[in-house]
């Protein structure tokens, strides 16, 4: 199984390939936020799926289509995987979970990765969000 990213000793280790795909997806969607999901064994990302943002206010919000979510949920089940990565971009703000991100974070076992585009270079940050509490993971590129 190809591993695009994995959680290792409190860090989120991201392949250059996955990072490049995240940046490409975010830049293509800007000034709107983009979103995507990663599937894999617990703590790993074997597949990354860039998805459409269907929220009615996409500049500052994102929402994955219910149909996409089901399709990938069933795909993960077929493979014996989980949804292990929830990805979105913050085109104009820091890549830190907003109050909205915290309120709607419903996947305690997934890594929430946010790519910020406000600075001179894209900045990827990763978090676990459980019961509204944020724990940041160090991000390293492999």
């Amino acid at each position: 199984m190809v591993t695009l990213a994995r959680v290792e000793e409190g860090a989120f280790v991201v392949s250059g390939d996955l990072f490049g795909r995240m940046v490409e997806h975010a830049r293509a969607a800007a000034p709107n936020e983009c979103c995507g999901l990663g599937l894999g064994a617990p703590g790993a990302v074997a597949e990354f799926h860039p998805l459409d943002n269907v929220h009615e206010t996409p500049v500052t919000r994102y929402e994955i289509a219910a149909a996409d979510q089901l399709r990938l949920h069933l795909r993960a089940e077929d493979e014996g995987w989980d949804t292990t990565l929830v990805f979105h971009s913050h085109p104009a703000t820091e890549p830190y979970p907003s109050a909205t991100d915290l309120a709607l974070a419903g996947w305690p076992d997934a890594v929430y990765a946010i790519l910020g585009l406000a600075g001179p270079e894209p900045l990827l940050r990763a978090y676990r969000i459980r019961d509204g509490e944020v724990a940041e993971l160090d991000v390293s590129l492999s």
């Binding site: 929220h55 206010t57 929402e63 219910a66 979510q69 909205t100 419903g106 996947w107």
Partner: protein
């Protein structure tokens, strides 16, 4: 009898059960049975106006109930009901 598949974030409210069975001719009826057994689920899934919460997705036999009849969506014997918290958020 329908089988609800409970997502990880809601399992603390179902005594960590992954699958919960509940009878009913419609999704709404089966949900009432589910809420009777696990009352804390109601607030997480149903809004104050009695409809499904905006950021909870429910699928009956792999179809989004919002594209069918919502809580009135009919259930077959052995229907599978998947509950997935929406994946949503954003900077504002």
């Amino acid at each position: 009898m329908a089988t609800f598949r409970i997502p990880p974030v809601l399992r603390p409210l179902t005594d960590d059960q992954v699958k919960v069975e509940s009878p009913g001719a419609t999704l709404g009826e089966a949900l009432e049975g589910l809420f009777e057994a696990h009352p804390a689920l109601r607030e997480r899934m149903i809004d104050t106006d009695g409809t499904l919460r905006r950021f909870v997705n429910v699928y009956v036999d792999e179809e989004d109930v919002r594209t069918r009849d919502g809580l009135e969506t009919p259930l077959e014997s052995g229907s599978s009901v998947i509950v997935l918290p929406a994946m949503a958020g954003g900077a504002a």
